[in-house]
Symmetry: C2
Subunit: 300 residues, 2 copies
Amino acid sequence: MADHLSSKEHYETLLDKYDTWMFDCDGVLWHGDRPIDGAVEVLDILRKRGKRLLFVTNNASKSRKSYKGKFDQLGVEAKVDEIYGSAYAAAVYISSVMKLPKNKKVYVIGMTGIEEELREEGVSFIGGTDPADNTLEPFSLVNFTLDPDVGAVLCGLDVKINYTKLSKAFQYLTRNPGCQFLVTNDDSTYPSADGLLPGAGSISAPLRFALEKDPISIGKPAKTMLDCIQAKVHFNPERTIMVGDRLNTDILFGQAGGLATLLVLTGISSKEDITGPNASSIVPKYVTQSIGDLRVVRSS
Amino acid sequence: MADHLSSKEHYETLLDKYDTWMFDCDGVLWHGDRPIDGAVEVLDILRKRGKRLLFVTNNASKSRKSYKGKFDQLGVEAKVDEIYGSAYAAAVYISSVMKLPKNKKVYVIGMTGIEEELREEGVSFIGGTDPADNTLEPFSLVNFTLDPDVGAVLCGLDVKINYTKLSKAFQYLTRNPGCQFLVTNDDSTYPSADGLLPGAGSISAPLRFALEKDPISIGKPAKTMLDCIQAKVHFNPERTIMVGDRLNTDILFGQAGGLATLLVLTGISSKEDITGPNASSIVPKYVTQSIGDLRVVRSS
């Protein structure tokens, strides 16, 4: 059973126990363009106490650099190298783990975030924001030339998803031998400021369905994301805590990596998901209503 | 094990045993815009011998009326009331089985075929080919008004699939109590004249993934399609044969309805699918290379 934190002593103990604090962002630090009450203050407290902060997001629509802009805009202090996004992790996976040969390329279903990270890692790509692929004009195989150098399809959230992109990706995955099917993350929904919308997992679902196979998923809860962080940052898992709002991504991710986990109830997962009759089998170590609750330690 | 037909005697026996012949179209009678060699001749033979012909297709991009145009164009004789499409069956399901109240409407992800059939059945709808929903412009919930009268989402093949349509459908399915999730068919791929493309099942996959639930599927292999035919045509299942190219739609459909089944190898399923080491558990009663093989009976 999860520890429900509520008193100043609870939060003080938490601060004593963990040196590295990994945060999911959407639903934990902000909702869309609105910071969650107290979040900025709590991050400030953690920094002042010498904690290492890492921001671990499945959001692949932005590169780390432009995601940093979002932190700035919301008044949340962060450095680019504290930010780990699934687009960045996917680019690192393709260049360093999959070791895609330099003469090969990636077909992208996704937005600028993926493109920027692939470019930074020196990975060639086609598709993505290319106007030729961002169209509702009919797609015909007669006018399509299969590029034999496409060795992977990478799919993330793409709000310009269309039949041309899906059809091209399907051709590469079925006709280019060995072409890998990668997704930045499996999130079924995306928490916009005004409500839930289909997420990256849903965008890749047509390909999963047509291929009858699951892709390699990079973001939380997959271990690939943690491997990517561990390659850059040294931390002791026993003194690290993952703070998130989704049981099946954030909390599962923390558990799989041997980290402590703190569920906040300001996002996707609700109290019923951990205590109700249909409670999830994923149980966080700690639960608190909001990250803002930790402000209470300030008065100490 | 399936009976592999090859001699004139085999085909003569088949003609003697079955009075009603149900045909899938794409991959059986034609490929895209090319009729399959001998198909027209075989249908002609069957008609001359007094067989009842029914064309049972999951294609929902066309209404029966416009599908009849395709038969005409390819020189294949057919009457509108011999044609059963999944768009028609979906419209009948909504009006007669689900009995959607007259003041309610359907949100459509699909093409003109669905719209025409809904209109014929007197079912109100929004979405579909409405230019406002056929856009790659950003979708925001701020500019979206939930129509409380949407009582069902019907999804078929839609080559103008986009994030606006998916997001709106997702809102109706999650926010309108009791809103039904229907799909014309589950076909993962669509056999265009020049190769496979993502099919109707793949178009609805984002919603399945985001909702974590399967829709009510109308087309083959679902029984809904057979119910729809049975409501209009009297036939003896024991003297009826379903001819198709897909084990998991056509052949399964025939079997579920207690019909004999004939697999042709001119479409999706291959000889390996019925005899190889990874053969399907769905075994047709008969197999022949092509519907054109039945021409051999003409010389009798």
